[in-house]
Symmetry: C2
Subunit: 259 residues, 2 copies
């Protein structure tokens, strides 16, 4: 694909519908919201907001992934949840809290749609289709948080790495992620060496392949098998909450048909 033809790689998120939440809105809501959307780029490691920040915008990731982290007093951190094209950043705005004691850090560079907080709040309180959708998304995020807590308590680094890879993969267009083991360790809240060991074990089994900041998933079925149940629980629950859009339309798989 080295021709001059525009590939999906070059315009990976050219329409808001790359974000699943934006995609399933009814036409009249789209008509009100979409004019206020602005396509922005997220770079790896960028912070969208810090603990306690009053947010001015919400963001709907298109092909980027953002991690919600809690940063401890001693500086170490742990990932609370992952947000990609299935969701949005800035839940606190419509939940009424305006801020959270967390940090949002870009885990995978890419694009997102920015929307002024006021526009979202206005639409939310109109009680349109968006209202229920955002609440159901929030509930799915709670499931992810709950499962992260369980996973941290009971599962090995290897199981957690598998879960993390799967969650990330679900939010990316390819089987490839740009990510160092050091960064993964920060997310999982474990030692870098622990990630190295688990990753090399996975590589020896032919499940993944990696070199210096790049990971490719080769055998997803086996990755799912090696993961703990946490991934499946989160997946099934978010599918249930978000793919069943009553009285509007149903989506049976993760992909979106655009055009």
């Amino acid at each position: 694909m080295s021709s001059s033809i525009i590939t999906s790689d070059e315009i990976p998120a050219a329409v808001p519908e790359h974000n699943h939440l934006l995609a399933v809105l009814p036409p009249e809501v789209k008509a009100r919201l979409f004019p206020h959307l602005k396509l922005v780029k997220f770079t790896l490691g960028q912070s969208l907001y810090e603990s306690g920040d009053q947010m001015q915008f919400v963001y709907f990731p298109a092909d980027s992934i953002v991690s919600l982290l809690y940063v401890m007093e001693n500086g170490s951190s742990a990932e609370i949840s992952i947000v990609g094209n299935e969701g949005l950043l800035g839940i606190a705005l419509f939940m009424g809290g305006e801020s959270t004691p967390n940090r949002a850090v870009v885990q995978s560079a890419g694009n997102a749609y920015q929307l002024p907080a006021l526009i979202l709040k206005a639409e939310f309180s109109r009680h349109s289709e968006l209202h229920g959708l955002l609440l159901r998304y929030t509930q799915s995020l709670m499931t992810q948080m709950a499962q992260t807590a369980v996973c941290n308590r009971h599962h090995t680094i290897e199981q957690q790495l598998c879960r993390w890879l799967l969650l990330s993969l679900d939010r990316l267009p390819t089987d490839h992620l740009t990510m160092t083991q050091e960064l993964i360790a920060n997310m999982l809240g474990v030692r870098r060496e622990g990630v190295t060991e688990s990753a090399s074990k996975l590589q020896r089994q032919g499940v993944i392949r990696y070199q210096r900041g790049h990971i490719t998933v080769l055998d997803r079925p086996n990755l799912e098998r090696l993961s703990c149940e946490c991934y499946k629980v989160v997946k099934i629950e978010s599918d249930r909450l978000l793919h069943y859009i009553p009285a509007i339309k149903r989506q049976c798989d993760n992909s979106l048909i655009i055009l």
Copy 2:
């Protein structure tokens, strides 16, 4: 207080206002909701709902405490969050999901107010004061879940025990809780022996006193000192989200003034 006069112990939850959410509702909302409330008793270990259950009622604890647990495929469990008189059970009903993949188990026996799901949903979608209040409560619950995840990753059993005791204490009228170390271990997702060791250490330091299913907190300041930062984060955030009731009234401490 051994006279025949009715003590607060005998009617510990005689009015709905013992629940903080119900207490701060404006009069007209109370007028609509309260006639549908039914006082019910929760017994220790009772399950309010199982994973995936479609709930018929929401519950507003008065002097009882309920734990939200995730039960793993192998049967072991981990506590996701604690709900007492500051909150309600059945968030999924107004969030739109109708169910969650969790289990709600009574951790401390007592009373609660039961409300039919339909009544709550109707009031919620009227967009009354209740709407914002429930969303802010939900956000505070998310903070608790997030912090549980962090705590499970980074903190010792002793720190977690302190956090757990403090969270429970905040939801109880006295400094005394009826709870075996075995049950605490189930909540924290650790060995019973681990709880025994930490508890006896706390007792030796004079922070708590316990005997066979009963724990009394003697030195709360020290308990807070020995706890990890997670307790404080959750406390500050839920105070921020729930004690500031804009345009209605402000509450400056945890207690309620009734009569």
